[in-house]
C-alpha cells in the first residue's frame, strides 16, 4: 500500500489528563490559631492538625506519584493498542478494497454506464469485507446496496486529494493511489478510503465502520481507568500505612518532648530498630539524660549553697544568743564604766544587735528560698495591725495614719507586721517624718484587695534605682557603704507580700514629693493556713 497524507479526524477523548491532584487544598493549615500555654486544648488541636497535615501531604504525594505512573502507563498502553488495532483494521480494509476494485473495475467498459457502476459498487461491497461503497463518474453517482452513505458524505479535503492528479505519486499503470481518512459520521467512527480508478475512470469510495474497534478501545480505556483508580486507592492506603508507621513515633517523640519541657526530665523513649526515627529517639534520650544530669548538678549545687547559708546562719545563732543575753547587762552598766571603755562596750552592744538582725534576715531569706516559710492566717483589723506596728517601735509621733476601722483581712499578722515595719522604717530613714500611711479597700476582677500606701516626704527614689529597690543587699546610696539596715529588709518585705498572694510596688509621688510604697494584699489569700481548726 502506498502511504497517504492524512488529516486525522478529531477522535479519541483524553483520559484524565487534567485531573487535579486530590486533597492538596486540605493540607493547608486551616486556622491561624497560635498554640498558647493558656489553651492546652487548642495547642493539642494545632499539634494534631500539624501531624494530620503531614499525613495528608504524604498521602497526596503518594497519590500523585501513583496517578502519574498509572496514567502514563495506561495512556501509553492505550495509544499503542489503539494504533495497532486501527492500523490492522485499516490495512486489511484498504487492501481488500483495492483488490476488489482491481478485480471489478478493470472489468468495466471504458465508458461505464450508471448501471455498470452500480453493479460494480454492489459487487465490491458484497464481496468485500463489510464496507459500503460509493462511486462517481462524470455522468453519475452510485452507492452500493443498503449503503448509508454516498460520495456526498466524503469530506472535501479527501475528495480534493483523490480527484487531483497526484504529482509525486509514482504510479505504475495498474495501480491506483488510495487516500484515506478517519471521520466521524453520525457519531460512528468511519474509515473512508477513496481512489480514482485510472485517470479517466470513476472515483470509488469505501466506508468502513470502525464501531467495533471503537467499542473495544472504549472498554480497554475503561479497564485502564478502573486499574488506575485501584492503583490510586492502593497508593493512598499504602501512604496512610506508611504515614502511620512514621507518624506514630513522631507523635510519641512530640509527646515526650512536651513532657520534657514540662519538667519531667526523666522522660525517655523506647528505642527499637535502627532506622532514622530510632536514631532520633536515641538522640532525644541522650539529650534528655544530659539535661537531667545538668539540672541535677545545678540544683544539687544550689541546694548545697542554700544549705550552707542556712547551716551557717543557724550556727551563728548560738553564739549570738549568748551574746544577746548579756548585751542588756553591758548596756545597763555602760554609764558606770570608764569613759575609755564605755564606747567600746556600746559598739559591741550595737554591733551584736546588727549582727543578730542580719542573721535573722538571712534565715528568713533561706526559708523563702527553700519554700519552707509558713503562713499563719488570722482575721485581722488592718487599723489595729498598723497601730500596733508603729506603737511597738515608738513611731506614733512620726506617722500619720489614715485607716478606716473595721477593714478586716485574712493575713499573717507577724509577717505583715514585718512588711509594715520595713516600709515605714525605710520611709522614716530616707524621707524623714512625717510618714503618711493610708489603708483602703479596692475591688477588681481578681477579688477584694487591701491596699496600704506608705508615703514619705523625702527626695524620692532615682529612676535608675527604682527597679532595684527590692533586690537583696541593694543599697540606694552607693557611697554609704555602711547602712543601718541589713540590705535584706525590702526583699523580705516583698517575699512576705508574695507569700500572701500580694505584692509591693515602689514609685515616686506624682507631685514629686517623696517615694510611695504600695502594699497590695488579697483580702482572702488563696493559700492554706498553717494551722486549721
Amino acid at each position: 500500500m502506498t502511504k497517504g497524507s492524512t488529516t486525522t479526524a478529531p477522535s479519541g477523548n483524553g483520559h484524565g489528563h487534567d485531573r487535579s491532584p486530590s486533597g492538596q487544598s486540605s493540607g493547608v493549615p486551616p486556622h491561624g490559631a497560635e498554640p498558647g500555654p493558656a489553651h492546652p486544648r487548642a495547642s493539642w488541636v494545632v499539634r494534631r492538625l500539624r501531624l494530620t497535615s503531614l499525613r495528608i501531604r504524604m498521602i497526596a504525594v503518594c497519590s500523585v506519584v501513583a496517578l502519574a505512573a498509572a496514567v502514563s502507563s495506561s495512556g501509553i498502553a492505550y495509544w499503542l493498542n489503539r494504533d495497532a488495532v486501527l492500523k490492522r483494521t485499516q490495512d486489511t480494509a484498504l487492501a481488500d478494497f483495492r483488490n476488489q476494485l482491481d478485480r471489478t473495475v478493470t472489468a468495466l467498459p471504458l465508458e461505464p454506464s450508471c448501471q455498470d457502476l452500480q453493479l460494480a459498487a454492489n459487487v465490491v461491497a458484497t464481496t468485500g469485507l463489510r464496507y459500503d461503497v460509493a462511486m462517481t463518474s462524470p455522468s453519475c453517482t452510485v452507492a452500493s446496496l443498503r449503503s448509508h452513505y454516498t460520495a456526498a458524505d466524503v469530506p472535501d479535503a479527501l475528495r480534493r486529494q483523490v480527484e487531483q492528479p497526484c504529482m509525486h505519486c509514482t504510479t505504475s499503470p495498474g495501480q491506483y493511489h488510495l487516500f484515506w481518512q478517519r471521520v466521524n459520521l453520525g457519531g460512528v467512527p468511519y474509515l473512508i478510503g477513496g481512489t480514482k480508478v485510472l485517470p479517466s475512470g470513476p472515483t470509488a469510495y469505501m466506508f468502513k465502520s470502525l464501531d467495533d474497534e471503537q467499542r473495544d478501545l472504549d472498554s480497554l480505556a475503561w479497564s485502564l481507568g478502573i486499574a488506575t483508580l485501584l492503583a490510586l486507592v492502593g497508593a493512598a492506603l499504602l501512604a496512610q500505612a506508611a504515614a502511620a508507621t512514621v507518624l506514630k513515633p513522631v507523635a510519641r517523640l512530640a509527646e515526650a518532648a512536651r513532657r520534657l519541657g514540662e519538667g519531667n526530665l526523666d522522660t525517655r523513649l523506647d528505642v527499637t530498630g535502627q532506622d532514622e526515627l530510632a536514631e532520633l529517639s536515641r538522640t532525644f534520650n541522650h539529650t534528655a539524660a544530659a539535661l537531667e544530669a545538668q539540672v541535677d548538678e545545678l540544683s544539687a549545687r544550689e541546694h548545697a549553697s542554700r544549705r550552707f547559708v542556712a547551716d551557717m546562719s543557724h550556727e551563728l545563732r548560738t553564739p549570738l544568743t549568748a551574746m544577746t543575753a548579756v548585751t542588756d547587762i553591758l548596756e545597763d552598766e555602760a554609764d558606770m564604766l570608764d569613759p575609755m571603755i564605755e564606747p567600746a562596750v556600746r559598739l559591741v552592744v550595737s554591733e551584736t544587735r546588727r549582727l543578730t538582725e542580719l542573721v535573722e534576715n538571712l534565715m528568713e531569706v533561706t526559708r523563702f528560698d527553700a519554700g519552707t516559710a509558713k503562713v499563719v492566717l488570722d482575721e485581722v483589723d488592718i487599723a489595729d495591725l498598723i497601730t500596733s506596728t508603729i506603737d511597738a517601735r515608738a513611731w506614733l509621733d512620726a506617722v500619720e495614719l489614715d485607716a478606716p476601722r473595721g477593714l478586716v483581712a485574712r493575713l499573717d499578722p507577724r509577717r505583715i507586721d514585718v512588711v509594715l515595719a520595713n516600709l515605714i522604717g525605710n520611709a522614716l530613714k530616707h524621707g524623714g517624718s512625717p510618714v503618711r500611711v493610708r489603708a483602703r479597700e479596692e475591688s477588681d476582677a481578681h477579688g477584694d484587695w487591701l491596699v496600704v500606701e506608705v508615703a514619705d516626704g523625702g527626695p524620692g527614689i532615682p529612676d535608675d534605682v527604682l527597679p532595684h529597690v527590692f533586690d537583696r543587699f541593694f543599697k540606694a546610696d552607693a557611697s554609704r557603704r555602711r547602712s543601718e539596715g541589713s540590705g535584706l529588709g525590702l526583699s523580705i518585705a516583698m517575699e512576705n507580700a508574695r507569700i500572701h498572694g500580694g505584692a509591693i510596688t515602689a514609685a515616686n509621688a506624682a507631685d514629686g514629693a517623696g517615694a510611695v510604697f504600695t502594699l497590695r494584699l488579697p483580702k482572702n489569700p488563696p493559700i492554706k493556713d498553717g494551722i486549721t481548726q
Binding site: 544568743t321 547587762i329 526559708r367 488570722d378
Partner: protein, 228 residues
C-alpha cells in the same frame, strides 16, 4: 511582782546557759540551770521551781519530751526556747503543753516580760465563781471543777478559761486573747491560742472533737457558751 520567782533553765549550750543565767538573775529571778533534759527533770523534782525555760534541741530526751513528762504531773508554766519560729516545731511544742515560746536569739528583756506575764496568769483574783453546765470556775480559789472533780489546768489554760468566762456568749478574737492572756502588746502568733484552746477542750469538754462549751466562731475566734 515582789516575790523572787525561782526559774529552772534547761539549755545544753554553755555560753547561752551562762548568758541567760546572768541576764535572768539580773532581772531579779533566782535561776537554777541544767545542761540536759535528764538533769533538768531531776532538778525539777528536787527544787520545784515556779517556771521552766526549756530549750527544744537538747541531747538525749528533747525539750518536747521533757515538757510532756512534766505535764503528766504538774501544771507549772513552761516557756520554750526555740531556734525556729515558723516550723512545725512550734506547733509540736505547744501541743506538748508549753505555755509560750521565744525564738533565739532572744533579748533578755523580752524573755523577762514573757516570764512575768506567764507567772501573772496564776495569780488569784478576788472574784466570784461561775458555772457553765457541770463546769464550775471558782475565780477566788483559782480552781475549776467538772462534776465536782478538780481539773488540772496550767496557768495559761486557766487564764484563757477565765477570760472567756468573763464574757460568756461573746466571741473573742485570737488577737484579743493573745493580749488578754499572753499579754503580747503586738499582734502575735495565733497558733498559741489555737493550741491552748485544744488542750483546754481536751480537759473541759465531754467530747473534745465536738465542743459544746468552747465554741469556734468562724472568722472571729472563740466563745464560751453555757450549754443549753
Amino acid at each position: 511582782m515582789n516575790r523572787v520567782s525561782h526559774l529552772l533553765l534547761i539549755e545544753d549550750d554553755d555560753a547561752i546557759r551562762t548568758g541567760l543565767e546572768l541576764a535572768l538573775t539580773r532581772q531579779g529571778h533566782r535561776v537554777s540551770v541544767a545542761a540536759s533534759g535528764e538533769d533538768g527533770l531531776k532538778l525539777f523534782k528536787e527544787q520545784r521551781p515556779d517556771l521552766i525555760v526549756l530549750d527544744v534541741m537538747l541531747p538525749g530526751i528533747d525539750g518536747f519530751e521533757v515538757c510532756r513528762r512534766i505535764r503528766r504531773t504538774d501544771q507549772l508554766p513552761i516557756i520554750l526556747l526555740t531556734a525556729r519560729s515558723d516550723d512545725i516545731d512550734v506547733v509540736v511544742g505547744l501541743e506538748s503543753g508549753a505555755d509560750d515560746y521565744v525564738v533565739k536569739p532572744v533579748q533578755p528583756r523580752v524573755l523577762d516580760a514573757r516570764i512575768r506575764a506567764v507567772l501573772r496568769r496564776g495569780e488569784r483574783e478576788s472574784s466570784d465563781s461561775a458555772a457553765f453546765g457541770d463546769l464550775v470556775i471558782d475565780r477566788n480559789a483559782m480552781t475549776v471543777t467538772k462534776r465536782g472533780a478538780e481539773l488540772q489546768l496550767t496557768p495559761t489554760e486557766l487564764r484563757l478559761l477565765l477570760e472567756l468566762s468573763r464574757r460568756p456568749g461573746q466571741a473573742l478574737s485570737r488577737q484579743q486573747l493573745l493580749r488578754l492572756v499572753w499579754e503580747h502588746d503586738y499582734l502575735g502568733d495565733s497558733r498559741l491560742v489555737d493550741a491552748c484552746v485544744q488542750r483546754l477542750r481536751a480537759k473541759v469538754e465531754d467530747v473534745p472533737s465536738a465542743p459544746t462549751l468552747i465554741r469556734t466562731v468562724r472568722g472571729v475566734g472563740y466563745r464560751l457558751d453555757a450549754p443549753a
